[in-house]
Each structure stands twice: as structure tokens, then as C-alpha cells.
């Protein structure tokens, strides 16, 4: 159990990145339209986020500096501000979507209109950010989020034709009737979701919250190697379920109830209950992750006092920023906008902010003033540089693809 709690940070970070409300739906949409034809993107994304999250965790453990402090320090105030603006906007959109997602999950469980659940969800997020210890929030949401494994179990229970699933995954092709641009739009969206910047903001700041030191480099690596592959696995399992049940029936995914349909079909009410608990924990966890990330990024750019290990009064602007963020999110949701649509856009925008986030991490991870003997090895640098190229390509392609495909319609 203790071992499991030790990797809670990695699990929560990955859940927020791979299976938050937007990804739950995106994965199911992708599965129902392309089968497992985009599973390779998740794999590429998992490796990429492992490489960079491990770097950011190592920098935080060795130097005590969280990622956005490094971004400001290396990029200077102007480019740093550009990244802050983009990242903060993505965070805010994601917080909005996740609070809406919690409301949608509660609707799935209770049939009460989500509008009633939005204030409850928002207050719940705030009170946890305000009062709960960091370890408590990561352990509870990380552990409960694990119930999403029910999607993987459901895939086995559905007894699919494994040969054809493997064929889809290993020989990816664009299905007939789907434009090539749409295929690549979803590829960028999945890659952006896997490598979304708030994961490294949260992971590195979480390392500082947990007061990691040089001794914890191994712990950081373990968190990364357990958390993110698990996130990727869940993401593929959700797409797989959709590919087996929804694709042949030509069911279009527009809401959470279609996402959980295969689980209900495979395992009945009990499996459905697990899925709902998992979705609730994942969206709530993602809401916490993005709310905290919005506070972390602002505080670290401006040099404010931050951290949940302090009393709120000792990190006043950090807490004030998060309160304002949650209020704005509730305001956006009150207009009746579809939370799922909000994340689909935010994921694509996050692809644009990727290079400005990952380049400074790579530079600092090679700086002996910060890292002493724990600088990157040659292999790590080579892989990281390959990923910078991929990240840059995804960033450049994101907006044009969004426009050309009408957001994947």
C-alpha cells in the first residue's frame, strides 16, 4: 500500500493528462471512428511525457526549482509571459471542462441536471485546494481513479477479435469515408493530451510540495514509469472498448453515456458503477490538477509564495488566483456551454504551447549549476531532441488542422 501511495503523484498527474473529461470523450470518439488506428499516437505520447516529466521531476528534486520558475529564468520575461498566457488559458479552459465533467459524472450517477451539480463540484474543488493536504488529495483521487481500469477489464470481457484489433493498431490506416486531415487532427489532439503542459507543471510542483531531494530521483522515475504508461493504457482501453462496441454499431459519441456504454454491456451494473466512480475521481482529480497548476504557473512566473504545504495566508496570492480561476470557470459553465467541447479546443491549444514549455526543461536538465552531476545523459538528450522536433511539428499543425477539419467534425 505504501508503495502505491509513493506513486500517487505520477498516477494523478497521468490521469489528469490522459483520462480527464476531454480525453475520456476524445478517446471514445477516436475508438468509434478509427478503431485502434491511433493507438500508436498514445504510445508516442507516453514515451514523450515520460522523458520530459522525468526531466522536470529530476530538476525539481535536485535543484528545488519547479518548471515555471525555470521557464521564466531561461526564456526571460517576454517569451515566459507568452507561455504563461497560453498555459494559463489552457488551464482555465480545462478547469472549466473538468468542473463541468464532475457535474456530468454526477448526472450519470443521479440523473440530476448537471447545472445543479456545477456549484457543488466547484465548491468541492475549492475546499480541497483550500484545506486538504497535498498527500491526501493525490492519494484519494489517484487511488479512486484506478477504478478506470474497469475499461481494460471490460475490453477483455467483450472478448473481441484480438487479431483485428492488433491489425488496426499495428497497421494504422485512415478508414474509408474519413478525411486524412481529420485523422491527423485527432492524432495531434491525442498527442497534445498526452503531453499537455499542465502535467509537468503539476508533477514538478508536486515534487516540491512533497519536498523531494536528490535522494528521491528514483522515486521520480518510478512515478513517471508507473503513472504515464498506466494513463496511456487506460486511454487505449477506452478507445478499444469503443472500437469493439460502438464502431460496428456506428454509434456516434457525443456524451459520457456513450463512453460508458461498452462497459455496461460487458460487465453490467457493477462495472458501470466502477466506471462512474473512476470518471468522477478522474475528472475531480484533473480539476484539482489544473486548478493547482494555474496557481503554480502564475506564482512561479511572478515569484510569489506558493504551495499547499503552507497556510493559505502564507501563500495569499496563489490562493486568490485559484479562487478567481474557479469563479471564472463557473461563470463560463453558467452560460450553458458544453464542457466537452471546451476541452477539445483546449487540448489543441495546448499543442501550441508545448515547445515553449519543454525547451527550457531540456536546457536546465543539462545545466550543471542546477543539476550538478545529475545532468541528462547522451541517450536522454538524443530522445528529448527528437521529441522537440515532433512537438514543434504538432504545434505548427494544430491550429491549421483545427480550422481545416472544423474541430474534427
Amino acid at each position: 500500500m505504501k508503495k502505491l501511495f509513493a506513486v500517487a503523484l505520477g498516477i494523478l498527474t497521468a490521469i489528469g493528462g490522459f483520462v480527464d473529461i476531454g480525453d475520456l470523450v476524445t478517446n471514445a470518439v477516436v475508438g468509434s471512428r478509427f478503431g485502434l488506428g491511433l493507438a500508436w499516437v498514445v504510445l508516442v505520447g507516453v514515451v514523450g511525457i515520460c522523458v520530459y516529466a522525468q526531466m522536470s521531476g529530476r530538476v525539481a528534486a535536485v535543484s528545488g526549482r519547479a518548471t515555471f520558475e525555470i521557464i521564466r529564468e531561461r526564456l526571460g520575461p517576454r517569451a515566459g509571459l507568452a507561455n504563461l498566457a497560453a498555459s494559463f488559458l489552457i488551464n482555465l479552459l480545462t478547469v472549466t471542462a473538468e468542473i463541468g465533467g464532475v457535474a456530468l459524472a454526477l448526472q450519470l450517477a443521479t440523473s440530476v441536471d448537471p447545472m445543479w451539480w456545477i456549484p457543488v463540484a466547484a465548491f468541492g474543488v475549492w475546499i480541497v485546494v483550500w484545506r486538504a493536504k497535498f498527500e491526501l488529495l493525490e492519494n484519494v483521487t489517484g487511488l479512486l481513479g484506478l477504478t478506470l481500469i474497469v475499461f481494460a477489464v471490460a475490453l477483455f470481457l467483450l472478448a473481441p477479435d484480438w487479431g483485428s484489433l492488433a491489425g488496426q493498431a499495428l497497421q494504422p490506416s485512415v478508414p474509408d469515408g474519413e478525411p486524412v486531415a481529420t485523422y491527423w487532427f485527432y492524432a495531434v489532439a491525442l498527442f497534445g493530451a498526452a503531453m499537455t503542459p499542465y502535467e509537468v507543471f503539476f508533477f514538478s510542483s508536486g515534487a516540491v510540495e512533497e519536498k523531494w531531494t536528490v535522494k528521491d530521483i528514483g522515486k521520480s522515475r518510478l512515478n513517471v514509469l508507473v503513472g504515464f504508461p498506466l494513463g496511456g493504457l487506460l486511454s487505449i482501453a477506452i478507445a478499444g472498448c469503443a472500437a469493439v462496441v460502438l464502431l460496428p454499431a456506428a454509434i456516434e459519441v457525443t456524451s459520457l453515456s456513450q463512453v460508458v456504454l461498452p462497459v455496461a454491456e460487458a460487465g453490467g451494473k457493477i462495472a458501470l458503477a466502477f466506471a462512474i466512480v473512476g470518471i468522477l475521481a478522474a475528472t475531480f482529480g484533473a480539476a484539482l490538477e489544473t486548478t493547482l497548476s494555474s496557481g503554480y504557473t502564475l506564482a512561479q512566473y511572478f515569484g510569489w509564495s506558493w504551495g499547499k504545504f503552507r497556510k493559505p495566508a502564507k501563500a495569499a496570492r496563489f490562493h486568490l488566483a485559484m479562487i478567481i480561476g474557479i469563479l471564472i470557470a463557473v461563470g463560463i459553465l453558467a452560460t450553458g456551454v458544453d464542457p466537452i467541447l471546451v476541452t477539445e479546443y483546449s487540448v489543441v491549444f495546448s499543442a501550441v504551447a508545448l515547445p515553449l514549455t519543454y525547451l527550457p526543461i531540456l536546457i536546465i536538465a543539462n545545466d550543471r549549476e542546477y543539476m550538478g552531476d545529475h545532468v541528462n545523459g547522451r541517450v536522454m538528450n538524443a530522445v528529448a531532441q527528437v521529441y522537440l522536433v515532433i512537438i514543434l511539428a504538432a504545434a505548427l499543425a494544430a491550429i491549421p488542422l483545427l480550422i481545416v477539419t472544423g474541430a474534427g467534425a
Binding site: E73, R78, G303, F309, K311, A313, K314, A316, H319
Partner: protein, 139 residues
Amino acid sequence: MNDEPTTTGATGTPRHPAGRVLDAHLHVLDRQVLDRDDVPVTTVDDLEFDGIELGSRIEPGSPAPTVTAILTGPQLVMRIFGGHSPTARIIRVPWHLVAEVGTVIRLGVGADSLDAAWVERWVSRHIIGRIPGGRHDPE
């Protein structure tokens, strides 16, 4: 600048010979400033120099300028968008308060004694401290 911070040779970090040369841009600007209890105060938004006039020619052989203060507040806006801020509104942290220059700038005093922390103090006292639970440790 180059010979100035030799008096503040970093002690805690590895691979720093005494009297190392610091580049103001690379090693000081935009770094986190912590107070003596490791509480973040601000980021180094700009530096104030003595013995040099902005825009004037530096004669060969003239004495080297020295850093006199870390600047914050409206200075950040100036650095991003250009222009000058009224002298009265600049928030200064005198350089003699700096105890150590490493990957962070460490001060030898507490944040509560500094002008640079007044916004934090105001928000803490008037908003965050008044919300129930704001002055308690998380549970």
C-alpha cells in the same frame, strides 16, 4: 558588473569556485528571490546599477558600476513592453540584503520586513486571512 558579486560566492551549490564570474543576464535576472526562511518574495525583474548613466558613453578606464538593488513591481512591465516607470513606484530590494547568489537569490532578512512583499501582505490580511481556515495548516 562582472567583478561585483564575487563577494557573494555561492556556498551551497556544487562546482562553484570562490570568486566566480556572474553574468547579470544569465545568473541573476529572472531568478527567484527567497527570504531567509525560504519563502519566495519575488523574481528579479530588473537590476539597479550605481556609477553608470543610462544611454551615456562609458569612458575607458572608468570604475566598474556596482549593483545596488533588485527591482520589482512595475519594472517587469517596463522590461516586457519598454518605457520608464516613475521612480516613486519602483520597488527596491537593496543588494546589501542579498546573502547568496545561486540558482536562487537568497536574502538575509525575512520577507515581512520588505516593501517588495506588501501586495502579498495586503492580500493575506484583507482577503485570504479572512476566509475561514485561511490561517490554518492544511489537514
